[in-house]
Subunit: 339 residues, 2 copies
């Protein structure tokens, strides 16, 4: 085992001072050619690498980004992470990922763990419990300490910081309009509770599309699931009781599950009932029939979030200004709707 070599080691071996070594390795003009070459050669030979922790302590900058998301095992969030990683790594930043598991407490704990010097800034999406409790003190504390925060997808207006979202209302509107344009009149909606910022927006978009096109809104065609997990029975009952010829779902799982239910009943998709979901993941691509979806562009969202955060981290600006970027969703037409 060969232990890591430090500046002090080099200084001792070469009988110079630590400062000389430090400067020589930075190619400082202060140091003579000879000395620099000698030191650089020695450092290379022994594979010297500066200790990141020491540098962090000195610079008060860690080059780490803290990412706190509700769920790692979720296609949308992983694509966002990929985007964050891509941008951040290219700029020499590492990404520390913490999952809140949809729990308020875990969100708070994770933030506290990271906020004491481990990271330069946060990128996060709120847990459902946080949005339900409507308590954002942990976020406010962090921003008050001057740690930059970027909120994406599941955001709140209670906290002043940069935000990145897609236009969820528009996305739902586009989806509903697509179905209306194809002659569907009885369009249903499967969503989750309104306290989730995205669900509310999507529901609004759905309603808006129907109203604008002269369709009345039948509340029996709207199913609100209380949580993110599948309650299969509720969905089954919904499909039994509601009279629909098209369904918009706020995620791909609800949609794919619904399609299977309908197929078991002998209905044809999209002829007898069409489906549109949110999130353009594997499930949508490989479902049978493949699922038409509103793509949320997770990777793009991640890249933009990282960009906004790093800009804030590296900016020296005294006066803070915050912006909210709204990405356009895209309708990806597949076989669960008529082309």
């Amino acid at each position: 085992m060969k232990p890591k070599i430090t500046l002090k080691d080099i200084a001792r071996e070469l009988e110079v001072s630590i400062s000389t070594v430090s400067k020589a390795l930075k190619n400082s003009e202060e140091i003579s050619r000879d000395t620099k070459e000698k030191i650089q050669a020695f450092a290379k030979l022994y594979n010297y690498r500066p200790n990141n922790i020491a540098i962090s302590l000195k610079n008060k900058r860690t080059k780490n980004i803290g990412v706190v998301i509700p769920d790692i095992v979720h296609h949308f969030f992983t694509t966002v992470i990929r985007g964050i990683e891509k941008y951040a790594n290219a700029r020499g930043y590492n990404v520390i990922v913490c999952s809140s598991d949809e729990s308020f407490d875990r969100e708070v704990i994770n933030m506290e763990m990271l906020a004491n010097g481990s990271i330069d800034g946060f990128i996060m999406s709120l847990s459902s419990e946080t949005q339900l409790k409507n308590d954002y003190n942990h976020l406010k504390e962090v921003t008050e300490q001057g740690i930059p925060v970027v909120l994406f997808d599941r955001i709140t207006h209670e906290v002043e910081c940069d935000k990145v979202i897609i236009d969820d209302q528009l996305g739902a509107y586009m989806a509903a309009k697509k179905m209306i344009d194809q002659g569907r009149k009885k369009i249903g909606l499967i969503t989750t509770a309104d306290y989730l910022s995205v669900s509310k927006e999507r529901t609004d978009g759905y309603r808006k599309a129907l109203v604008e096109h002269g369709l009345e809104i039948d509340e029996s065609r709207i199913l609100k699931l209380s949580s993110m997990d599948m309650d299969e029975e509720l969905i089954e009952n919904f499909f039994e009781s509601a009279d629909m010829d098209a369904v918009l779902c706020v995620n791909e799982i609800f949609a794919v599950f619904g399609m299977r239910l309908m197929q078991k009943k002998g209905l044809r998709i999209p002829e007898d009932m069409s489906f549109i979901g949110f999130t353009d993941g594997f499930l949508s691509q490989y479902a049978n029939p493949s699922l038409t979806v509103i793509a949320q562009h997770g990777q793009k969202m991640g890249e933009i979030s990282a960009q906004m955060l790093i800009e804030k981290v590296e900016s020296e600006a005294e006066v803070e200004t915050y912006q909210t970027k709204i990405l356009e969703p895209t309708l990806v037409v597949r076989d669960s709707t008529i082309n």
Copy 2:
């Protein structure tokens, strides 16, 4: 903006020394009741939190784990991360996630970034390019520096370290046997190149099952895709030309895609052809018909990896001993095989 408060700040305000503050906050016996109470109250009031970086520098321990995986947007790997996170967080460790994106260079770069003090140890799964090049010097360098490494799933025997895998050969064997037991005689295999450790093992298990049950191996029923991405045309041709009544696939995407192809041709699943895949993800659960799979227990694998790593990190043992844990795969029977 209220900046972070340090020991020095407290010491100055309370007119005591830094060491006294430090000890008081640790409830040291050395400090009198009065002083401790005064200091603790002050620290609480101003919400003092020790700076992680300073502690890391002093202790030479970061409480960070570096995780390097080939792909974040992949169900199996995300479940592993979830397992790592769960175990690590409970022990006060953070998880730094880096994706190699199946690239050797990115794997090396990421490891180098983290190896200079940022982490206490690595948990990783090799990129396909690394397994193809068969070059593990970056791993050896790290272990030689005394940084513990745990390899999972995609491993190599070239590096001495702890390892966690599932018995891939047994998994494939179980799957093939399941099909044989149901009377299938013409069992195909869709896999990826042999340089991927897991693919090789699975192919071996498939062959073993066939041979042991008196079925001859027809090489035309084995499709080897060169990479992890879907080459749809190759798969279509394969299904056109090979005469099969069952197919084993090394991942769920190949299987689900294959099922859809067969359904389009009017074949019934599982009656006319049965399918088994690897990885128990959303795709398998929500496919139509749902897919029988060999579950790899990613979360468990993550937890065990984290446990093994943290044990090594925290152990003072002089002499290193390494172990390889082999998890048992599970056959999850669904509707793509006859029950």
